[in-house]
């Protein structure tokens, strides 16, 4: 019996997040004991009361950057940790809070305080509070990131593998399959010639959603979930963000990829699908619109598409 290897020193921090990523870590259930046996948890707001940022081997950050406080803490984590993991879709792509990209601060404040069914006030809060930032940013806009683990939240299987890899000093398995890889539905060529809204009809439980005319994001979304949605009757909403292929190739995009695929599987034309997705862009791009990897694509006109829908 040799000496047990030194424990991996771990800091965990959350920025602008919903807390779901932290619950996902607790959802390792009994496996959390295996992880905890191999790591020395230093800064971890839900578990320990160590304040500040001790120097650590690994730092896990969930949540996006939405104010100076978040930016400052991200920088302190970077300075204290040898490796930084961007954990969860908000940290990696901005997530749902990033969908505020579509609006100015004023639009948001007016809707919340002045034009709201049950709010009887004629002012916007302005004392003691800090003004909203213009935009929500993924953390790599502020600090360098070593490892990305998107997912909303990532499934425990991926969290466990990533943590175990770091504990054992090996590289994590970075699988780049799409959600389709774990989906049990069967693709079939059909004569479907109309797109269906998600809530329309009752989808066949065994056939690919695309074959049935439903826009499922599974083929353009990275699998960090083990595909529960399509396997339980729900179209993929893209919550783990786009596949590497879409992120890295300027001329590939969520809507064109799905359009081409549906043209092959149904009697629909790719253009029909593309313009349908543009009309529902606020939902389809909700999780990843704040990342520049999507935002910089030359044909990505999200604000225009959203405005067109809102103006009817």
């Amino acid at each position: 019996m040799g000496e047990s290897p030194p424990k991996v020193r771990l800091n965990v921090e959350w920025l602008s997040a919903c807390g779901g990523c932290d619950v996902a870590i607790v959802d390792l259930h009994e496996k959390i004991l295996e992880v905890l046996a191999a790591v020395e948890v230093l800064h971890f707001p839900v578990l320990t009361d160590i304040k500040g940022y001790p120097s650590a081997d690994v730092g896990i950050i969930s949540g996006a950057i939405r104010n100076e406080h978040d930016r400052h803490n991200a920088e302190r984590m970077r300075a204290a940790c040898k490796q930084i993991i961007a954990f969860g879709t908000c940290a990696v792509y901005g997530g749902i809070p990033g969908a505020a990209l579509a609006h100015s601060r004023e639009e948001i404040l007016e809707k919340v305080y002045l034009h709201n069914r049950t709010t009887k006030s004629d002012f916007i809060p302005s004392k003691e509070i800090s003004p909203l930032e213009n935009q929500v940013l993924p953390i790599d806009e502020v600090i360098p990131v070593d490892l990305y683990l998107p997912g909303c939240p990532p499934h425990a299987a991926f969290i466990f593998d990533a943590l175990l890899a770091l504990v054992r000093g090996r590289a994590p398995q970075v699988r780049d399959e799409s959600v389709c890889g774990r989906c049990k539905r069967t693709m079939a060529k059909t004569q479907v010639n109309a797109l269906k809204e998600n809530h329309e009809g009752t989808p066949d439980p065994a056939e690919c959603f695309l074959s049935q005319g439903y826009v499922c994001m599974g083929s353009v979304t990275l699998d960090r979930c083990l595909a529960p949605c399509p396997n339980m009757g729900v179209t993929c909403s893209g919550c783990a963000g786009p596949t590497m292929q879409i992120l890295t190739e300027p001329n590939r995009d969520i809507r064109t990829e799905i359009g081409e695929r549906m043209e092959k599987l149904t009697a629909l034309k790719a253009d029909q699908v593309v313009s349908y997705i543009e009309r529902s862009a606020k939902t389809r791009y909700a999780y990843a619109m704040a990342t520049r990897m999507i935002g910089r694509k030359p044909t990505f006109l999200i604000k225009k598409w959203i405005r067109a829908v809102e103006e009817g």
Binding site: V46, A100, Y113, R117, T118, I129, M232
Partner: protein, 473 residues
Amino acid sequence: MGRTITIDPVTRIEGHARVLVHYGDDGSVASAAMVVDELRGFERILVGMEASQMPLITGRICGVCPSAHHLASVHALDDAAGVTPPPAAKLMRELLYMGHIIHSHTLGLFVLEGPDLVFGFDSDVAKRNIVGVVQAAPEVAKKALRLRTLGQKVNEAVGGRGVHPVTAVVGGMSFRMDESLRRTLQGWVDEAMTLVVELAAFAKQLLIKHVKRSADLVTKLSLPAHCMGTVKDGKLNFVEGALRMVGPAGEVAAEFPTRDYDKHLVERALEFSYMKPVFFQKGGQENMYRVGTLARINAADAMETPVADAELKAFRAVYKRPCPLTVMQIYARVIELVYACEKAKKILANPAITGESRVPATFKGGRGVGHVEAPRGTLIHDYEIDAKGIVRAANLIVATQQNYAAINKTIAQSVAIAGAGKVQDNIMLNAIEFGIRCYDPCLSCATHAVGQMPLEVEIFRSGELVRTLKRGV
């Protein structure tokens, strides 16, 4: 001479919150208020999105109670589409939700409030955390973690995911439950039932011990106020029924369907906070009210299941109805946790759960309102949806917003208790932290687990900063 104290806890779930305390010229506490310094603007973000996606998108408002948003949202969609989900779908949704309540209430009791229960409200903060609990009571901690896991597994098996479930869709559920899944779930729920009986007894025993020891803190943090909860046939319900408001004397002040919430409730912006408190309108007045565990058991006549109902009767025999003691929100959580386990068992015993689980639904244009009782209180989603199925307006009323006025009142009471005589810094900080934590408000539930909120206190006299106290910032 007036003075102002500013307390600055770095909170987690919803960002940064501070507390302002205003002293009057006579040296008594004039008022206190928590400042909530974060806004994500969901009521704007949701506009222009497809309504059918609301149960998925709005779950992301809170990863601590995503199942509550998931179901409140789908209830609003059912209302907008004018559909009634089949009996199996209703059973599956409620089962999913009981799993969530088991997970959330166990987490609240044993991870967040557990340290207070094991070590006392005034114990050494260094060991007042979950790690300390595991060391002090390893067997209980292990059982509590197992119970939480079982709840989350039920939530995940029916909801598709633990955090951010996906299977509730307008018109029902996205899949049909089979016998094999039903049997698996029955096994988990039977185990949960065994664990909860033991854990509830343990939690109650500790709570009562500390209540006796800190009688002063308990009785002075009494807040007679209106209480709101959901009742079905007069009994407490988390997912279905009317909203009932009882007054400080226990009288029913109002009982109304979800859709009428805007006739009874009003939000008022504050100059110094992003969070809008909510008030109950009656007789030309706007009244403070509470929601959450204690408010629910105050509003309900009885519990639907036998063990929980016996617990409620035993509670009322000692603490009366309505019970105004803020700290009893913890006791009420124990009663609800027992109920959630019993109710899950009852749902699974109903063979109708494996029936057809979805009816077709379309949006013809119109409004939809839905609600659930989130772990921390009533949660209301209200959407206007056009004929194309696009959200045109959204209004959300969340639990902590409704407790906001009561939390502020409790903070003022806490300061007054600590401030009797010469105020020691630490006593003041502990008292304020304790008062806030009784509500387990979403914006501080996580810092709570640390056992100590990082606080920053600035004391002003006549507008001039005379002293700064810091703890763990």
